[in-house]
Structure formats: C-alpha cells, structure tokens
C-alpha cells in the first residue's frame, strides 16, 4: 500500500482511511494513535524515528508504506 499524497503523514493516513472504518480501526486506536504493531514508513524511514507521529511532512514524490506485523512461519 503506497499512497502518494501531498500532505503530512497523519492527513495522508486520514485520507486513506476515510470511509473505511474497518481499516482505520486496524491502523489506529480509539485515541487516533497509530497502533504499536503497525509501522508506517516514509520512503525507507520509520515515521516514529523521524518526528512526532503523524506530523512528518510528505511530498508528492514520497512513498508511504504501512507495514503490519505478521507472524506466519511454521504451521
């Protein structure tokens, strides 16, 4: 999933989840904070390490990636 939006990260995610309540609840908690088992990368950087969550600037040439934790391997 890689939306290209001219916005700050939070707005980009809000735009993505607008109208998709189920997707929103997977990405953020009741307080609107990104869930700790879902990472968002701006290009190849984790936004948690870049700036306060959701406030990092995004240019139209940037790629946002949502990378959830997955666990399969054995069964």
């Amino acid at each position: 999933m890689a939306p290209r939006l001219k916005s700050i990260v939070g707005e980009a995610l809000a735009a993505l989840t607008k109208g998709f309540a189920a997707l929103r609840s997977h990405l953020s908690n009741d307080k609107g904070q990104l869930r700790s088992f879902v990472n968002v990368y701006l290009n190849d950087d984790d936004i948690r390490r870049l700036d306060e969550r959701g406030k990092t600037a995004v240019a139209s040439s940037d790629t946002l990636s949502i990378v959830p934790s997955i666990v399969g391997g054995c069964q």
Binding site: S36, D44, V71, G72, G73
Partner: protein, 393 residues
C-alpha cells in the same frame, strides 16, 4: 562483522575428511569460504525454532551447506496440509513427529550433520537453557508469544536472531539482536491483540513463499558464520511475491526499547501469553454457556427445528466444504447483513475451528440477538464428529 566461537571449543574440528572435501568442493574453491570457512560451518551450532514452513528450507540448505550442528525445536506432527510448503516432510511422514521426519531428511542429505532434538514448546522456563548452547538462532515460529520469547531470550543472551515471517504472498526478514543491532521489539514494541492478525492456518499462504523467506534466513545464517558480506541487521527486508519485488526499510534501535534500550525494564523472560493477551487454556463458563457441540447441532437439525445455521467463513472456504443447511455470511459482512437474520429463530454460527464464529456470536449478542450459539470446533469438529466425508483443510 564478528564470527562466533562454538561454546565447546575443545570439540572443534580442525580438518575436513576426504568425503567432506568432495562434498563441499564448490564451497572450498570460493576464496571467501575455503577450508577455513568450511571448518567454521562444520563447527557452527545453529538453533532452528520450528520445523515447519521456514524451518524446512533452513534445515535442508544449512545441512547441505555443512553446518555441523542443527538444533531443532518442534513438538508438532506432520499433517497432510503441511506438505504444500514444508518440503522437508514427505507424504509417508504424515502422522510422524516433525522433528523425526526433519532429522531423517537431514541425515539423508548430509550424514555429517549432528541434529539435536528439542521436542517441546519453547517457553520462558526452557528457552535460555536451550538457546545458550547455540551461536545463532533462526526463528521460524508462527505465533506472537514465541516470537517475543525468542527475541527476548536472544537479546538477554546476546545471540543473533535471524528472523523470517510470512503471510499469504508477503514475507519479512531481518537479523535482530546481533551486536548492537535493533531487536524485534524495536520494530514492533507490542503484538496485535489476539485474533486481529490471521495466522497462515486461517489466512492461507502461498506454498513457495516460505521457501524464499527461509532461504533468505539461511543465507544470513551462513554469512554470520563465515563473517561474510553485509548482514540484514538494522534493515527490514520486505518481499512481495505477487509484485516480485524486494524492498528494504531502515530499522533503528529504539532508545526506549524495554529490553535493549537505554533504560531496560525487562531483565528476564516474562509470561509471553499474558504479554500477547492470549487467553489461558481453561475456557470460562460464560464461553461454554454460549457453545454447542456439532453432534447437538446435527440432532437439532434432524429433529426439524427451525434453526438458522450461519457459516461465517470466507466464500473460498465455503467452496471447499460446507454443511448443507448452512448459509454463508462471512464475518466481515455480518455487521451489514444483520437484517437478513430472523430474530425470532435460534441461531447457530460456525467457522473453521470456532474462533471467528465466537466473534460473530459476540457481535450478534451485542446487537440484541438472543439464543445465539457458537458451534464448538467449527466445521473441522463437524467432520470429526458428524460427517467424516467433509474434507478437513
């Protein structure tokens, strides 16, 4: 990059046999490996957690490559549904312990490899004692409690944790916890609540996928042993099989990480089921009260009772097998399709094993439906107890 000394230095091999020189000749003529590197492989001790999808390619290739000692942790039995991807097991191994089947395959490929069997579930009580005897751990498990357990044990013992994980058509790989590298908790501080992320058993997995991801892990293991190249530490590799694309993300050590950060609050192994919110084995009376056995469902249907049997699985699962009287309403569609259900008639919901239908039953009760029952064990239990002609998948 550092290399790793075997815990028992006195038993280190210092020469290769004639048979080994022939076997490993394509390694030996690589100047980056040579006899010295092959001896490092021969003296290496690697622990594979899980002898399943990821463990299969790991074990096959690491044994062929000449890793001297492979520890296997697994307590499972080979099932037919494993064979689509767990290539270390064959059709004749169905019903056999995976650890025995894997050991036999390894012996067939390379009798020089010593297999150490750990037929158990890795736990907070045994993990440190087992892992301390190995230099590198490759994690191929399939549940969050064990992922966090392996991570924490590796951080506490200072062992590199070669990580791989798969889901449907995608995989992730990295090397955690090696000298100053970020750990799994730096990547994902907390697991998702139980049930939110489907397992491969629920969500499916492309059979080839663990082969690719397991071999990325095997490659990292061999590089760590040989001290070659650029390790995946500090990087998260993402693999998308459908796009046939690899991507790489930066992975940084989290200064606030509770186990490897600057102010560590986890200094010993914890209760990982509790950490991951996994309910304890004993079911609560409330759950049992809302459950019904497949045999009882069959009896009620046969008596002509006007029961609404709702199958909340996905359409592709319904195609594989279904109960004739059942009506398909996938769990994800249920909130929008409540009006299709008759509130005056009893409702029984079922899925594959009972997990999704328990959520469906809760959802119906929250919306004012009464007399809602969840069929215990899902259609797999129906196959076991009512109609063996229904295939299990």
């Amino acid at each position: 990059m550092s290399t790793f000394a075997a815990p028992n230095a006195t038993s280190r091999a210092t020469a290769l046999t004639k048979e080994e020189i022939e076997r490993y000749s394509r390694h030996l003529i690589l100047p980056e490996v040579g006899v010295e590197g092959q001896l490092k492989l021969k003296n290496a001790r690697v622990l594979l957690v899980g002898a399943g999808g990821l463990g299969a390619p790991l074990a096959l290739y690491l044994s062929a490559a000449g890793v001297g000692t492979l520890g296997l942790v697994d307590f499972d039995v080979v099932e037919r549904s494993n064979l689509q991807r767990q290539v270390i097991h064959g059709t004749g191994d169905i019903g056999r312990k995976k650890i025995e089947s894997a050991a036999a395959s390894i012996a067939a490929i390379n009798p020089n490899v010593r297999v150490e069997r750990h037929e158990l579930a890795l736990s907070s009580e045994n993990a440190l004692d087992i892992i301390k005897n190995y230099e590198i751990v490759a994690d191929g498990t399939d549940n969050f409690p064990t992922r966090y357990l392996v991570n924490d044990a590796c951080v506490l013992l200072g062992k590199p944790n070669v990580y791989g994980s798969i889901f449907r058509f995608e995989g992730q790989a990295s090397v955690f916890a090696a000298a100053d590298a970020p750990c799994y908790r730096c990547l994902y501080p907390e697991p998702p609540p139980p049930g939110l992320v489907p397992s491969c058993a629920e969500g499916g997995v492309l059979g080839i996928l663990p082969g690719v991801v397991g071999l990325i892990q095997a490659t990292e293991v061999v590089k760590l042993i040989l001290g070659l190249g650029e390790s995946l530490q500090g990087r998260l590799l993402l693999y998308d099989a459908l796009a046939m694309r690899f991507r790489e993300l930066k992975l940084r050590k989290d200064p606030d990480c509770p186990i490897c950060g600057t102010h560590r609050t986890i200094t010993k192994l914890i209760d990982y089921n509790q950490f991951c919110g996994v309910p304890q084995a004993s079911a609560t009376p409330a759950t049992i009260a809302g459950e019904i056995d497949p045999v009882a469902v069959k009896a009620r249907l046969d008596s002509g009772e006007d029961l609404q049997l709702i199958d909340v699985r996905e359409p592709q699962e319904y195609q594989i097998c279904h109960i004739p009287q059942a009506r398909l309403i996938p769990l994800g569609e249920l909130p929008k399709r409540l009006h299709e259900l008759d509130r005056s008639r009893p409702i029984v919901v079922h899925c594959k094993t009972g997990g999704r239908s328990a959520k469906a039953a809760d959802l119906l009760r929250q919306n004012g439906f009464t007399g809602v029952l969840n069929m215990t064990g899902g259609i797999l239990a129906w196959s076991d107890k009512v109609d063996p002609a229904v295939p299990k998948y």
